[in-house]
Assembly symmetry: C2
């Protein structure tokens, strides 16, 4: 088993070298072929999805999966249209590979260039939502990365069918390397994947807290993503009541299980309409938890922890201590306080007078995202194509050696071109 | 012990939040004070260094450390001047923090900004070379990161003295946070440090292969650096003899124990002057190892592995299989071959007709470096100030909620400002 997986990973790594040199035209052609082929085969995909849904129904009856998971499994015409549209959108985005990030003449005839290049092989592990495959595959192709995908077992038939439709489209794309997109299926495959630090360069988990924590604890490969989404809203003394109310209700109720929904609301003790605000939240169906000690809690439903604070500083300290570093917002009419908050809070997203739910690649205008990162290195916040790139340095010369510079015969002039 | 370290790490993390908002002026003032104070106290530093050297002498006699380690421990007037100069050079570099990387109007009155910010707390573990402390401290300060430093035990007296001179300078700098630069000393401290993934954001090891491997295997904190430095030079069929000879001799002999010195030379079997080339290398005192199976070997002395290859493709394949991803060079007069090589070789540095020894932050014009990374994420190659930054996204609004966009009452227009 282990040897088989190593061989597979080796092949994907080999394909990734070929991906690195594909032209923008070829990559876009591949994406267009994928979009077309998904449209042409939507009945087959629906049929595979129906099989998954039947199996899932019994799991729902037995209480093994929730209704919301069931709903995420289900493809409909809208999701199918969005999936095709999503791939086509990525065609229109600028190619993130081969961008010249720096060009510097170190000395006469000695030129350093820093060029964006793909990371190599991505390992993507996701739960439920089979429509994610198309989006992830499209992002990987556009960024010239090879990818090993492992989807949730509940949607295995849909996953297989979508992948086979994608593979068919790639075969039609002359010059597109084999083995660049590979799907694996079992729990053992995940265990093998996490060991392949020689061939896999980055793991991106998309799924629940448990999955992400398990992965982070079991691999030496860099992991990009977030486990918790404990977002905060701080209602300052000078907050506008209507803004505070609407924003908190939006951030808690518009999609309570999203990672960017709010979990803890901090209210300045001198905010005059605090009782009225709490009443409005309750009227909106939000349960308010006032007992302390829930500061690490991600509810995923219409519940939130509430704490009164005596100052802006106390709010910032609370957030920096308990936040998962995802997204926080201050509601205030005092720009100076907003400025302090935005400078001092150390999270991927820090907002002023807007809902935390805006933390999303589409809303940021990135076209698509592979996920949202709470890492402090590489990529932070919603991760689009840029987060799937790194760079290499090249030097063009005509025989230069370091000895001449070390001994002072020559010297660097470092002129940016 | 563990609790003490956690408390220390907590304090450094708290200091890092204050570092994040320091002005460029204050940071530069701190650096100038450090440079001045090192100059003013150089006799004290030399005295501490003499103590270390005495202890080290007995270690050399007992064969526990090498003469080259002993030499790296030793400070002299030149190294002292370079240390002061290095700090002053960093004053002149542009502040890497607070740069606006993207500013985009998502909708009327809803503005997204992506701003560079510090990573937070760096954990830096280095061996020997006490002069490194000043450089690392200066880079950390300029990039607004707090840092926990652990130096090699052989230079403990010098390390302590340099750090106390730095601390004295920082105390003189009004507004500079306490606990932002902390030094620890024991092996147990390193073990504790590697566990602090809540408070330490990035570990940078500078030292031998064993140290780096140990660290990578024993922490969940991202590690930036390189273990091996297995660099290659490929002499193509059309190589210029003089260039090939000079470059290989430079790359192997100018500083054989450097990570960017060459370990394996690949020669195209049809290169006409191959025998002459090997003869010149031998004349330069280089031992040529022709037995296969040494492709993973980092000699660190005037030895290199040699292999004949039948094609450019074979050379590229060999490098992508055995290289540590540090730096490789092709010697060729055929630009087309150079282009293929530079596109297909997946290393941090890929050169044409120059010595691999150019892989260095100073030579690249970065002013200074914390080290060289062979990672595929975050920062690759020589890492200067840029590699010590990440970014945060802020949104300024006036009450916007996601529901309005989800329900189609409003829509994004994504206009870059």
């Amino acid at each position: 088993m282990e040897d088989n997986f190593t061989k597979l990973a080796y092949n994907v790594k080999a394909a990734s070298k070929k991906m690195a040199v594909l032209s923008s035209e070829l990559k876009n052609q591949a994406l267009k072929n994928i979009a077309e082929n998904i449209s042409a085969n939507k009945d087959k995909i629906f049929e595979a999805n129906r099989q998954d849904l039947e199996d899932a129904k019994t799991l729902v009856d037995r209480g093994e999966i929730t209704t919301s998971t069931f709903n995420r499994l289900k493809l409909d015409e809208n999701k199918m249209r969005d999936m095709v549209q999503g791939v086509n959108d990525i065609v229109r985005l600028e190619d993130p590979i081969g961008k010249i990030l720096l060009k510097r003449e170190l000395d006469e005839g000695l030129v350093l260039t820093k060029t964006s290049c793909p990371i190599g092989v991505l390992g993507i592990i996701f739960e439920a939502r089979p429509d994610v495959i198309a989006q992830i595959s499209a992002l990987a192709i556009k960024s010239s990365n090879a990818v090993i995908l492992k989807g949730g077992k509940e949607s295995v038939n849909t996953n297989k069918m979508i992948m086979s439709v994608i593979q068919e489209a790639l075969k039609k794309t002359k010059g597109f390397p084999e083995d660049a997109l590979v799907q694996v299926f079992t729990r053992d495959d995940v265990a093998q994947m996490l060991k392949q630090d020689k061939y896999i360069d980055l793991i991106i988990p998309r799924g629940g807290n448990k999955l992400v924590k398990f992965i982070k604890e079991n691999t030496k490969i860099p992991v990009l993503g977030h486990a918790d989404g404990i977002c905060h809203i701080f209602v300052d003394e000078t907050a506008d009541f209507e803004k505070a109310k609407n924003i908190i209700i939006d951030a808690k109720t518009q999609y309570p299980s999203a990672c960017n929904s709010v979990e803890t609301v901090l209210i300045h003790k001198d905010f005059p309409q605090k009782d009225e605000l709490i009443l409005s939240l309750k009227e909106a169906g939000i349960e308010i938890i006032l007992t302390p000690g829930n500061w690490h809690k991600e509810y995923g439903e219409k519940k939130l922890s509430l704490k009164y604070v005596s100052s802006l500083e106390e709010a910032i300290e609370h957030i920096n201590e308990y936040s998962s570093g995802h997204t926080e917002s201050i509601i205030t009419e005092k720009d100076e306080n907003a400025k302090i908050f935005m400078n001092m809070v150390d999270s991927a997203g820090v907002y002023h007078n807007v809902s935390t739910r805006f933390a999303d690649g589409f809303r940021y205008g990135f076209g698509a995202e592979v996920g949202i990162s709470t890492n402090k290195t590489h990529a932070r916040g919603p991760v689009g194509l840029d987060g799937l790139t790194i760079y290499k340095y090249t030097i063009e010369g005509n025989g230069q050696i370091v000895k001449d510079y070390a001994e002072g015969l020559k010297s660097f002039h470092h002129r940016d071109l």
